[in-house]
């Protein structure tokens, strides 16, 4: 069967305008979702991390713990591992 994960890892290099992944955004900065990869991308997409959606890093916790993200008028906490699978284009306020 077609292995989707590895395929997606192969095309992992971000498009030129996608500068970083979500975990690299500083506290309080916003970005626009370009792509979602990783084993949990399906759940992330359902939760609203869809292409073009505006997301904001609301809180980064100590010890490299979860990152709280604000999107679609709600907040959700993700691990760094998940956040690093979400590529974003930084958005100026």
């Amino acid at each position: 069967m077609h292995n989707v994960v590895s395929d997606f890892n192969k095309v992992d290099q971000p498009a030129p305008h996608c500068e970083c992944t979500l975990d690299c955004l500083a506290n309080g900065t916003k970005g626009e979702v370009c792509s979602v990869t990783g084993p949990n991308r399906c759940r992330l997409a359902e939760l609203g991390f869809s292409r073009g959606c505006e997301v904001e890093v609301a809180r980064k916790s100590a010890f490299g713990g979860p990152i709280e993200v604000r999107l679609r008028s709600y907040r959700v906490s993700l691990r760094v591992e998940e956040a690093s699978g979400i590529t974003v284009r930084a958005v100026e306020d």
């Binding site: 399906c42 359902e46 916790s61 713990g65 709280e68 691990r79 591992e81």
Partner: protein, 687 residues
């Protein structure tokens, strides 16, 4: 009978609405995914209207990712179940877009449905108002606003439900998919007409179809997925991307922004509660307070109960003639059941405080703060909640693991939970410490002098917790090695805990605990009392024939294994009896020694301990047990899995015998080895 299913995202206010509609008292959790079993009730008002309301576990979509989502989704698709006649979709108005993701899938099921908007007040505080009529027109189904806790909008909703004022959206498949996705779905439909487009779209997104989808349907979906992948489309994200474009349009048309959003109270509390430094200080303060309450404040009422039971014991002793019945009453009934009742204040306090923390919304913050540490040992931030409730009892703890989506992390959590020091161990610890650790023992570190007994209790707690993390770390690096799972935690808004409801729930749970322990202890004490005094041998005192009693024979059988731990056949019997439940041990030892006979000590826990301390070796005449026996027993109880209820709930939750058996056997070995090591060390130090 008409069945109406309540469906919605976790924490959307489903259970609150369910309670308002059925008038039943049910648990409403302020933590995502608290509703785990399907609850049902009859719509209130209207006489015998024959309308059944079922409250399904919260789901974010019709694609299952966890066991409780699987339950809800199978029911909605009518897999091995009769699908509901109607759907009430509970939508959190303050979080409209994400909630609508599920709504847009539900309308494609073809089941008549109705949308109920909740939390409109929270939306208003964020400066959002929803145009119900507009939303209804966009979705093609009726929309009703309610405020279930205050009762607003409920009469309208109830009359709607009674008149079956639901609507059907005519569109069987979402129109906004890209051409490739649309054609893949219609191709599968053409091959297998019994699977609906929405079932296809919600299964195409999974790496592999759900297990309940079998045969040709599963194959069709797998090949459909492969086809999309070969076109460089990842169905796992593309299908949701397309849907959210439609949702964005619906939301733009039906949401009216009234004022600018203000920082909510919850966000302001979180600025401290989730602070990089302050958050951990608050967390430690709260946990310290909980344990302070259990071990200091709850001791005061516990002392009252203890005096009451002691009084009862003395009363029976003085008012009844000596004999078998008196022995039975004192050793079995008062010793066994009384010893459990003494712990009622502690159990109640713990349950109540956990209820407060959960209902206020703080537990989810705990999961947020602790996730990194949990993750290091292969657990999940959400493991923190079941593990915390396991300090009361492992059974609700294991059940609470259902909210953990990842099967592996859930299994690791369930596996280590029996190591967490539960309340059933407290009576045993208290008795053994009082019996074997001298009251005068002190540990001097510089100018600090620590009480040996208190230190021993703390040590037992710490080693239980530490062992649970060590085992988790070991398992997730060896037998249960896998990619780290998803961590998606929603922090619910803080709210004032409902004291009355929490009190009722803690009383219910504590009642069940006491009832279970009481009946089991009573039965086992009576059985042991009989087994250790029969068969009667004419003309001999019990001392002379004790090894030939039924209990004596069994005890002698296990004695060789226990000898290296400094234990004899009598302790063997106690340990065998405590396989049922740990707290049985005290009563069992009491029954074996027929504790009544000599001493006039006033507390039975102490009495059993004193009796153990006084036990003489029949051959040498020296004390049968030493401090080494005591610490070995303590270590054994810290790690052994002696609880039938835990075994039963593990079997049910893992759906098989493998894990509960593996757990019991490995913890038995662990307990034996730990007991042996601790005894060896203590004997060497004491020599």
């Amino acid at each position: 009978m008409t069945r109406i299913a309540l469906v919605g995202n976790p924490n959307a206010g489903k259970t609150t609405l369910f309670n308002a509609l059925t008038g039943l008292r049910h648990k409403v959790g302020n933590y995502p995914g608290v509703t785990v079993d399907i609850k049902s009730g009859v719509l209130r008002g209207g006489d015998n209207n024959g309308i059944e309301i079922i409250d399904l576990p919260g789901v974010y979509s019709l694609t299952p990712h966890s066991p409780d989502e699987d339950v809800a989704i199978k029911l909605l698709f009518g897999i091995n179940e009769v699908p509901p006649n109607f759907i009430v979709n509970v939508v959190d108005a303050s979080n409209l877009e994400r909630n609508l993701f599920l709504t847009t899938q539900l309308v494609e099921l073809g089941i008549p449905m109705l949308v109920v908007l909740t939390m409109t007040d929270a939306a208003a505080r964020r400066g959002l108002r929803i145009d119900e009529q507009r939303l209804s027109a966009e979705l093609g189904v009726p929309v009703v606003s309610t405020d279930a806790p205050k009762g607003a909008g409920l009469p309208t909703l109830v009359s709607r439900l009674q008149d079956q004022g639901f609507g059907i959206n005519v569109s069987p498949v979402y129109a906004g998919y890209s051409p490739e996705i649309t054609s893949t779905i219609s191709e599968i439909c053409a091959f297998s007409p019994d699977i609906s487009p929405v079932l296809i779209s919600t299964q195409l997104v999974r790496e592999a179809p759900s297990k309940w989808l079998t045969g040709i349907d599963a194959e069709l979906i797998e090949s459909g997925r492969a086809k999309l992948c070969s076109l460089d489309i990842d169905p796992s994200t593309a299908i949701a991307d397309d849907r959210y474009i439609g949702i964005g349009r619906i939301s733009a048309r039906s949401v009216i922004r009234t004022t600018a959003a203000v920082t909510s109270v919850s966000e302001r509390i979180d600025q401290l509660a989730l602070h990089k430094v302050g958050g951990y200080i608050v967390f430690l303060a709260i946990i310290t307070l909980v344990f302070q309450a259990i071990f200091t404040w709850a001791q005061i009422p516990a002392e009252w109960i203890k005096s009451g039971i002691d009084f009862l014991g003395v009363f029976i002793r003085s008012s009844m003639p000596a004999g078998e019945l008196r022995d039975l009453l004192i050793a079995g009934v008062i010793g066994g059941v009384g010893n459990t009742v003494v712990f009622l204040p502690q159990i109640l306090t713990l349950l109540f405080l956990l209820g407060l923390l959960e209902d206020s919304g703080y537990l989810a913050r705990g999961a947020f703060l602790l996730d990194r540490f949990m993750y290091r040992v292969g657990l999940h931030g959400k493991s923190f909640i079941p593990m915390l409730s396991s300090f009361a009892c492992a059974v609700p703890g294991i059940m609470a693991t259902r909210t953990i989506e990842s099967g592996r992390e859930r299994l690791v959590t369930m596996f280590v939970i029996p190591l967490i020091p539960c309340t059933a161990r407290i009576p045993v610890y208290t008795m053994l410490i009082a019996a074997f650790i001298p009251a005068t023992s002190k540990l001097n570190i510089g100018i600090v002098s620590l009480d040996g007994r208190a230190l021993c209790m703390v040590g037992l707690f710490v080693s239980g917790i530490a062992m649970s993390f060590a085992v988790a770390a070991l398992l997730s690096r060896t037998a249960m090695k896998a990619a780290p799972s998803t961590f998606m935690l929603e922090l619910p808004a803080y709210k004032l805990p409902r004291i009355g409801r929490i009190m009722r729930e803690s009383l219910d749970q504590a009642g069940l605990f006491i009832q279970r322990a009481g009946t089991m202890i009573l039965a086992i004490s009576i059985a042991l009392w009989f087994l250790s005094s029969h068969p009667k041998i004419q003309g001999k005192s019990p001392k002379e024939y004790e090894r030939s009693t039924y209990a004596g024979r069994v005890g002698t059988l296990v004695e060789p294994v226990l000898k290296p731990l400094g234990m004899d056949w009598k302790i063997g019997i106690g340990l065998l009896a405590s396989v049922a439940a740990r707290e049985v041990f005290v009563a069992a030892m009491g029954a074996i020694y027929n504790v009544d006979s000599s001493e006039d000590d006033n507390h039975l826990g102490v009495a059993v301990g004193a009796r153990m301390r006084a036990e003489k070796d029949p051959v040498t005449g020296n004390p049968a047990y030493d401090i080494g026996t005591g610490v070995a027993l303590l270590a054994f109880f810290a790690f052994a899995q002696q609880c039938m209820s835990t075994f039963a709930v593990m079997r049910r939750e893992t759906n098989g015998w493998k894990w509960p058996l593996l757990q019991s056997v490995s913890y038995l070995l662990l307990a034996w080895v730990a007991a042996f090591i601790v005894r060896t060390i203590v004997m060497a130090v004491n020599a």
